[in-house]
Amino acid sequence: MSSTENLPFPVWAEFKFEGTASEYFMIWIVNVLLTIATLGIYSAWAKVRTESYFYGNTMVNGSSFRYTGEPLKILKGRIYSVLVFTLFWILFNYYPAMLIWTLLAACLMFPFVVVASTSFRLRNSMYRNIRFRFDAGYLDAYKTLLLPLGLIVGFTALVYAIFSASDMASAMEAIEDAEFQREDMFFSIFFLSALPFIPYLIYLLRRFVVDHMHYGSAQGDFVASAWDFYKVYLKLFVLSFGLMFVIGIIIAIVGAAFGLEELAEGNVDSKAAAAAMVAPMILMVVAIYGVGFYLLGYLNSRLTNITFNGVEIGPLLLHSTLRGRDLGNLYLTNTIAVLFSLGLLVPWAKIRMAKYKASRTEFLAKDMASIESIAQPDQSAIGEELGDMFDLDIGL
């Protein structure tokens, strides 16, 4: 068959999402009913229909994406994941003595889940009759993640050793008498020492996924740098502190307006004092959630932009221009809508998000003819479902 693409290359095309909330609502409600009626078994078929709907409505350059996951495999994956998840849940909640081992097991499982989940998702993604795929082995994942994890552990041990040997530790022990325990400090130190490595870890994960990703015969290449990720997190850090400071001041003012002094003077019974307690508290919760959505919007938009703009799959490039405040608006309004509609607006919220993301993503193809299809082995869905269960957002 001789192929003739209408457009001359290179092609610069925008992504479009063509699904509608009303259409998806009908698919969703049928999925919900059949899932409940079959005690969850239909959820695997429901997932395929949902994914198919979102893939199929995502169009670029005149063609749509296709999801080819098989329900039976997903069902099998779900059953295994539920078992593993339940095991971890029990260990975490009822065997506190084994906490360290449980955490270690979870850490060791993480690279496996990343590989298995990414493989399944990519292998079942198709565009123009050519499959995506992921060629990393489990060992590759362990090798990639061992270095940063080793760094974190090593750095923590170093900081902890310095702390233990210092005058500060003995000074703190003296002041806080029986209450102070060295082990308590260990977790704080671990958290603080791990923090500077988190952007690097995320960078490595994304590079790992993109570098091993294929579209037919074209291989992915990640051209973003770790510094790009650090810049985002540094700005997030500054933004968070600034906003928390502002919120703190506002709450103090509101508290004063409602008569916080009265509370301080011990008039606990007065109604004004109760209001002084409750009003700033409500305000604080609202503010933290509100600000949280926008901070999350900032973070997710930048991470997606850096990642997408750093992707090169042979002759194909992506370009993403998500904006933090847009995502923040969407998170906030979607959450309010979903909460107050008792979940009925979930389909509407998901469609809005997909539409926005597609509208801010573009695609450049220098050439399409050189991309050829390649035969590939089958992939089980266990990792994908485990990834879902543990709420890991690994995909792009």
């Binding site: 259409e23 609502f25 919900v32 997932k47 893939y55 009759n129 919220a349 003819a369």
Partner: protein, 358 residues
């Protein structure tokens, strides 16, 4: 009748697209207008199931794929030549089915939350051995000692007296090893609670504000009631099923889903814990009648706890005295909004039960 379907062909060898028109005969054969090739029977073509209005794909035995947005035309052809159309899609397109699905789902959720989950969970709990209670309790007191409590400052003699009283109140045929622990309450103030293995923890503050031994006894009976009725275990099982029900509705475990579930599950959970509180009250009331304690002690003690629970150690006696004076003058008032925020059943109602059952 021969049908024409406009779409695109993808060879599968490269990512290039080619405009094409499929010609579908009513005897079930398909071929393409522009290309020279054999007709293929529809049963040899993998035709994707219709989902909403997303483009349909037809994959041929040689790996070539035809993609078309003309869903209706594809369905018409399948109808004509006896192929299967999707029953799911027919359900998903029917407004009346969506209405029925909505009502049925809402009913199933309400009925499960109100009766199904409690009944089923209690059925499971009844069949679990007592060792499970011990597993749930394991490490809980140690964790609380580390995070919340300070060692008790009550004199040994007082502790021994209450310990003795507690052992008298423990049900005679109990298989559980009931034990009482004393702790300084810290920020949780005057309170008592039970762990599923039979450990009952009483804070110093609670002991200090009790003015009659039977007041403390009534609260201890309430806590014993929690253990006897295995409320912790039943709560764990109920909450787990509630989470499962939530996941079934949301469909996937995505992060958007978990937030949606938060509000309704908090409401249902607090309804369950109100049920447990009144079950423990029932137990306390019944035992008090059996032993011959005056139920009024529970009522008066609850009123005082409500007022003085979070006083500082130094001001506790002062609060108790002030409460007694106010009591002598008039009845107490309970805040309206507290009623809804409290995890306990509206305390006024609980207190009233014990007052009227003298």
């Amino acid at each position: 009748m021969t049908l024409r379907i406009v779409g695109k062909l993808y060879s599968g060898r490269s990512a290039l697209a080619e405009d094409a028109v499929a010609v579908c005969s009513n005897s079930g054969y398909i071929s393409f207008e522009s290309t020279v090739g054999e007709s293929v029977k529809f049963s040899d073509v993998r035709i994707s199931e219709r989902v909403g209005d997303i483009p349909r794909t037809m994959t041929f035995p040689d790996g070539v794929m035809f993609e078309t947005s003309d869903n209706d035309q594809v369905d018409r052809w399948l109808d004509q030549c006896g192929g299967r159309t999707s029953w799911r899609h027919r359900l998903e397109r029917s407004a009346s089915f969506a209405g029925v699905a909505l009502v049925v789902t809402a009913l199933v959720v309400l009925i499960s939350a109100k009766w199904g989950i409690p009944a089923f969970s209690d059925y499971i709990a009844d069949r679990l051995p007592p060792e499970v209670d011990a597993v749930i309790a394991a490490g809980a007191l140690e964790a609380l000692d580390e995070g919340v409590f300070e060692p008790s400052k009550l004199p040994e003699t007082d502790q021994d007296g209450i310990r003795e009283r507690f052992q008298q109140l423990v049900p005679a045929n109990a298989k559980t090893n009931f034990q009482i622990f004393f702790r300084s309450g810290g920020f949780i103030g005057a309170n008592a609670f039970a762990l599923p293995d039979g450990s009952v923890v009483v804070t110093d503050e609670l002991v200090v504000i009790s003015t009659h031994p039977d007041e403390l006894g009534s609260i201890l009976l309430h806590e014993i009631g929690h253990v006897v009725h295995r409320h912790s275990l039943r709560q764990v099982i109920r909450h787990s099923w509630l989470a499962v029900l939530g996941l079934l509705i949301i469909g996937d475990v995505s992060s958007a889903g978990t937030l949606v579930l938060a509000l309704p599950s908090v409401l249902v959970q607090s309804a369950y814990s109100r049920e447990f509180e009144s079950e423990a009250d029932d137990y306390a009331l019944e035992r008090m009648r059996d032993i011959g304690l005056d139920p009024i002690h529970f009522a008066t003690f609850m009123e005082r706890i409500e007022r003085c629970a979070f006083e500082e150690e130094e001001t506790l006696p002062e609060c108790v005295r002030a409460h007694a004076e106010d009591e002598a003058q008039a009845g107490t008032k309970t805040g309206g909004w507290l009623k809804y925020l409290s995890t306990h059943p509206a305390n006024a109602e609980r207190i009233a039960r014990f007052k009227t059952s003298q």
